[in-house]
């Protein structure tokens, strides 16, 4: 955990090199404060997506150290790199019910309304991804599995109404009354409702931020259950890399790393 520009810049270069060398049809993003990323763009670092946490009131955004002018500047800086190939959506926003209340910046307004206002902020900057980190905030805002599930569905609904590419970090902390079964439920409900994306974390355990999300296994489960396909160019890459078979299902389970991954280790 560091917001040191040199560290972030090193990670951006590393990820860019991996994507270029292996020709993966994807984008990278290293989460840092938007002002840090702006500085890195000015240094010519390979920034595909500009990240920032946003909220639904001016005061809450101020507590994040941003305002709309900062976001506008960051958006323009991201576009100026001209790294888009099939589109020009260069922003990645994170949100979550309760952030305005937590910053004492809610003006007595309920947390779902504040959250929907955050989506209105996101919409103004033509984002690639808006991620509601629904259960991260803790039990003082969303107490148990039932409340987290409700809030996740509310967020999904509001994201659809506002026409946003909204996904959900289906997640919970260890001091909330929730477990991985609740996450399986929310994941399945969201997939049925047409969620734009979910998160992949190894084994669903975020070892840096100490909370639980959804695993790569979960993503495979939900694709199997609903017959959901990947982006065609990504499917094609998985096949060429030896990770998937021609029918787009996972390749045989040998327990061995594919050659390209072994080369990265050496």
């Amino acid at each position: 955990m560091s917001d040191d520009p040199a560290v972030i810049g090193g990670l951006l270069r590393l990820l860019d090199e991996i994507i270029m060398r292996l020709q993966i049809p994807t984008q990278s993003c290293v989460l840092a404060h938007v002002t840090t990323t702006l500085g890195l763009i000015e240094q010519g670092m390979p920034v595909d997506l500009v990240f920032q946490s946003i909220a639904g009131t001016q005061a809450a955004n101020r507590s994040f150290g941003i305002d709309l002018a900062t976001l506008r500047q960051a958006h323009q800086a991201g576009l100026s790199l001209r790294r888009g190939s099939v589109g020009n959506n260069v922003m990645y926003f994170e949100t979550g019910q309760g952030s305005a209340l937590s910053a004492n910046a809610h003006h007595g307004v309920d947390q779902q309304t504040c959250e929907a206002r955050a989506y209105a902020v996101a919409r103004a900057f033509d984002p690639l991804l808006v991620n509601s980190v629904v259960g991260f905030i803790g039990p003082e805002y969303l107490y148990d599995g039932k409340q987290i599930i409700r809030a996740g569905l509310e967020d999904h609904f509001c994201g659809k109404l506002l026409g946003l590419p909204l996904g959900v970090d289906v997640c919970y902390t260890n001091h909330a009354e929730a477990d991985q079964d609740d996450m399986d439920n929310l994941l399945t409900l969201l997939a049925a409702a047409g969620v734009t994306f979910i998160m992949g974390v190894p084994g669903a355990d975020d070892v840096m931020l100490n909370y639980q999300s959804t695993s790569f296994h979960d993503a495979l489960y939900v694709r199997d259950l609903f017959g959901l396909k990947r982006a065609p160019e990504f499917d094609d890459w998985l096949f060429r890399a030896g990770l998937a078979d021609a029918d787009f299902r996972l390749a045989g389970n040998t327990g061995l790393l594919p050659d390209f991954a072994v080369r990265l280790l050496v």
Binding site: L209, D259, R263
Partner: protein, 266 residues
Amino acid sequence: MKTPAPPSRSTIDLRDLTPARVGLGRTGASMPTKALLEFTLDHARARDAVHAAFDAPAIVSGLNDLGLEACNVSSRARNRNDYLRRPDLGRTLDSDSQRLLASRAGSACQLAIVVGDGLSPTAVHAHAIELFRSLISRLAIERIDIGHAVVASGARVALGDEIGSILGARMIVMLIGERPGLSAPDSLGAYLTFGPRVGLTDAERNCVSNIRGSGLGYDDAAFRIAWLVREGLARKVTGVSLKDESGGGTPQRVITNSSQPDKTEN
């Protein structure tokens, strides 16, 4: 990809690179039973750490054995559910505790130390006294006296502000159980605040985090805390403008809360 294929490596080799749950294997697309059971056990351990009963008398007697006369106070949170639902109650002393501290406050002191249960009483039971043993000798080298030692039940970090202000301490060190993760249910944090008074924000504190067996060791942690106490007292400030320059190792472990404004809630 034209160079000869490198020797095969197992996916399990990835575990040497990270504490994350990688290389779990799969059954079809799902997690194998062993990985699932390990995850469930770790979650149960983290939940136990959150809900463990705080043994404040044992901490008081441990401090007495080290030659520190400690007293026992409580926040306004009456039970664990109260504590989890209402962080505001955990930031305020109950009236008996206010009276007790007022009766003990003599002339102003340099430093008061508070041990609070926080989100992991388990971490406090496991590490607080041993950390104190190292810290007392480090502070003695810096010629800084501990004016008061207080053990606080139902405590959030900001409870130290009220305790410090009643006792007239120039600086507060709050040792508190951090939010448990699946791989670290017993991690202790130290929060340092110069000029404690009610209403301060986390931007005005320094934090030494991840104090536990396989994290930051007692001697290293005590060295950093003592350095921050000395420098904080000399510069009359803690928080964003006091950077850790103790030279005690990688700077990433010492963070101010402001570097992650939306991802902490002790």
